[in-house]
């Protein structure tokens, strides 16, 4: 079980703060932190209760997920370097933001990611080959969105924030208590779509969580080009409560996400979470951050590494045993090997696949072009056979 299950999650068996308190729970611009970069557990009067079910076993399991996804990231980057993937958008440094938030979801919650949420896809149950095949260029989508309640990766910046809001409006019309979560980055907050999404979400009090990973860089542009104020300050102008959370602190991310999801499910409307993190790698494997980024900044953030931080916490608790280490390593090794073999063994699409699924019903334009292209491809075989043309 990777995600909070309906009926078993903290929301039902944890006597959290009362409803009114939940609905007003926000960080007031302060950075919510439950674990310091040194790995010390910092207690918080309001948010502690939201992670009080995270015991030793859960901490180790979070550590495993974060380690595994970092390994997936490294392996995928290597596969791209070797020409097995066309491109890869690394998530190095954002493991706590992605694992903490996605593990707070219920299975029936619906998620709209950007293109960098491979960690979320892993937690939601996407197969490794499904994660890889889009980046290999073998398919236009990876997983079946309806199977794991995760939309396909969105490349157009911020578009999915509106889709999430619309989905949430549908949930509301259905009278369901499902929550919807949209991932996007700091750059996306400049797009009209994200701002329009906040207008709609606020107007209809849609059960949607806007989870913004502020990783400080939109390709080469620092976040200050996108916003003159803290990103978490902007949604309040739309009437949407917001939280600013240390995105490299997996417990803080979980606490904040659970608060927001709970609010959505209980009819409390939308919430905006700014998870302050850092893109330690390039924008994609096609990018070269040395052209625009001070290496000292990277060093500063390396000291706040989300996995390192969790390791320190585990060490302090005496949980980082040899047994745990070796089992996590074995899991990461196995996952990396599976990713590699599934990627390399992936069959190429067939030429006429190019015409498939443009429409759901037969279409005369497509049929004609498919027929003509089929004849064209066959003409090469015939010319070989007949020695003509």
């Amino acid at each position: 079980m990777l995600t909070d299950q309906a009926g078993e999650g903290v929301h039902h068996d944890t006597p959290g703060p009362g409803h009114s308190a939940q609905n007003s729970l926000r960080t007031g611009g302060n950075l919510l932190q439950l674990v310091s970069p040194e790995g010390e557990r910092i207690s918080h009067p309001e948010f502690d209760v939201w992670v009080k079910d995270i015991g030793d076993e859960q901490l180790c399991s979070l550590y495993e997920d974060m380690t595994v996804i970092r390994r997936i990231d490294a392996e995928a980057t290597a596969l791209q370097r070797q020409g097995e993937l066309a491109l890869w958008p690394p998530l190095l440094g954002q493991e706590a933001a992605q694992i903490g938030s996605s593990r707070s979801l219920h299975d029936d919650d619906f998620v709209f990611p950007s293109y960098r949420e491979s960690g979320v896809a892993y937690v939601r149950g996407a197969h490794l080959s499904e994660i890889a095949r889009v980046w290999r260029g073998n398919a236009s989508y990876g997983w079946d969105p309806q199977r794991i309640n995760l939309a396909t990766p969105q490349i157009i910046i911020g578009s999915q924030s509106l889709h999430a809001t619309g989905y949430a409006m549908g949930v509301q019309l259905d009278g369901a208590n499902t929550a919807v979560l949209a991932y996007f980055g700091d750059g996306a907050t400049s797009e009209g779509d994200v701002n329009e999404a906040m207008v709609f979400a606020a107007s209809y009090q849609a059960p949607v969580v806007f989870f913004c990973q502020n990783n400080h860089w939109a390709i080469s542009e620092p976040v200050r080009i996108q916003s003159h104020v803290q990103l978490a300050d902007r949604p309040t102008g739309f009437g949407i409560p917001s939280m600013r959370v240390d995105g490299n602190d997996v417990l803080a991310v979980m606490a904040a996400t659970r608060v927001a999801l709970d609010r959505a499910r209980k009819g409390g409307g939308p919430t905006f979470i700014e998870a302050v993190t850092y893109r330690m790698g390039p924008h994609t494997t096609a990018d070269d951050p040395t052209r625009y980024r001070d290496p000292i900044e990277l060093e500063d953030w390396a000291a706040k590494d989300p996995i390192l931080r969790l390791r320190k916490l585990l060490e302090a608790k005496g949980l980082l045993t040899e047994e745990v280490e070796s089992s996590v390593k074995a899991k990461a090794d196995a996952v990396a090997a599976e990713l590699r073999s599934s990627c390399i063994g992936m069959p190429d699409p067939k030429p006429l696949d190019v015409f498939n699924h443009v429409y759901s019903t037969p279409n005369s334009w497509i049929e004609r072009q498919k027929d003509q292209y089929s004849r064209y491809l066959n003409s090469f075989n015939e010319s070989v056979e007949e020695g003509a043309l």
Partner: protein, 336 residues
């Protein structure tokens, strides 16, 4: 004469425009310290400052909408849309404002805006990075649309586009960015081939082959291959997509009697359809066969492992040449 890559040629043209006209400003995502994702603006922010080479927020409608305001104020904005597939958030500003302002104000407000768009496929990219949206814009009155095919034109036409008092969509074939070619940086813009003129880039007598942007090179290669079989192909580089320089195409078709048009964009409602119709109207009695279109399919741009099927290549173009000439081809024996 210097040997420049396509990307460097545009860079040199932008530099010249920035030097010559203090009203020229560049705007776009990542065009500053990064120099653009394709390095087309490399070094320009360093040399001309952050006030003239502006890293914009990540908002395409914002880029074009503020360019409208800058143009109102007398500036000449040169906007970069990072990839073809990212232009649509700006579509409203381009179609409803940039294109219509001059008409709306009956010439009192000019929109000398250049919108640079890397376009086309062939580089193995994910979705939204390989599109050919030019027909949306050629269908929009008030815009000039050009597509460049070689470093010299890239250098010259970017300056002509910036100097134009009309808004210009300037399409750059991204898969040709690294191709090198001779560039005369001392070229006199006043005597250079005007922005709205086509060019015959390979003289021939049997078939007229019309191409633009990335496929001009493919068309020239096809003409060379056809010559080996004794077929003489005249290749026209359209250069301007709106307006199309019909007299040049017409003169060629009157000579050859046969027309093949190729583009990466899908066939239906595309530029090829417009050219086929216009040439049929203008020289119906000179045509020996129906115009042939060799284009991308009417499908969303496919995932990269299939893009070689979608993109017209040398063999598909030659098959089209055979069709125009009534030689055996893949559709032989079929009606229409």
């Amino acid at each position: 004469m210097s040997k420049l890559t396509f990307a460097r040629a545009i860079n040199a043209g932008l530099r010249k425009s920035l030097e010559n006209d203090p009203k020229v400003v560049l705007m776009g995502e990542d065009i500053g310290s990064l120099g653009g994702v394709f390095r087309v603006t490399d070094g320009l922010q360093k040399d001309f400052g952050k006030h003239r080479v502006i890293d914009s927020p990540l908002a395409e409608s914002g880029i074009i909408g503020t360019a409208v305001g800058l143009a109102y104020r007398g500036y000449r904005p040169v906007c970069e849309i990072q990839f073809d597939g990212f232009i649509y958030p700006a579509f409203d500003q381009i179609v409803s404002q940039v294109a219509k302002m001059h008409y709306r104000t009956q010439g009192r407000v000019k929109m000398p805006i250049t919108i640079r768009v890397p376009f086309g496929g062939g580089i193995g990219s994910p979705e939204h990075h390989s599109e050919s949206p030019e027909a949306y814009f050629t269908h929009t009155s008030g815009l000039r649309v050009v597509a460049v095919s070689n470093p010299q034109d890239a250098y010259t036409m970017i300056q002509q586009a910036i100097a134009s008092d009309d808004p210009v969509l300037y399409f750059e074939p991204k898969r040709r960015y690294h191709d090198k070619g001779d560039v005369d940086e001392a070229i006199d813009l006043s005597t250079a081939l005007p922005l709205d003129k086509a060019a015959v880039v390979n003289a021939g007598s049997d078939v007229t082959l019309v191409a633009y942007g990335p496929l001009v090179k493919t068309a020239k290669d096809a003409a060379m291959a056809a010559a080996d079989e004794g077929i003489s192909v005249e290749v026209i580089d359209l250069r301007s997509l709106a307006p199309v320089d019909y007299p040049v195409v017409e003169a060629s078709v009157r000579k050859t009697g046969r027309l093949v048009i190729t583009h990466e964009a899908g066939q239906s409602g595309g530029l090829g359809a417009e050219i086929a119709a216009s040439i049929t109207e203008r020289c119906f009695h000179y045509l020996e066969s129906a115009p042939v279109r060799i284009t991308g399919f009417d499908v969303p741009y496919p995932y990269s492992k299939l893009e070689m099927h979608h993109l017209p290549d040398l063999d598909r173009i030659l098959d089209g040449v055979d069709r125009a000439l009534g030689r055996p081809n893949s559709l032989s024996g079929l009606e229409g």
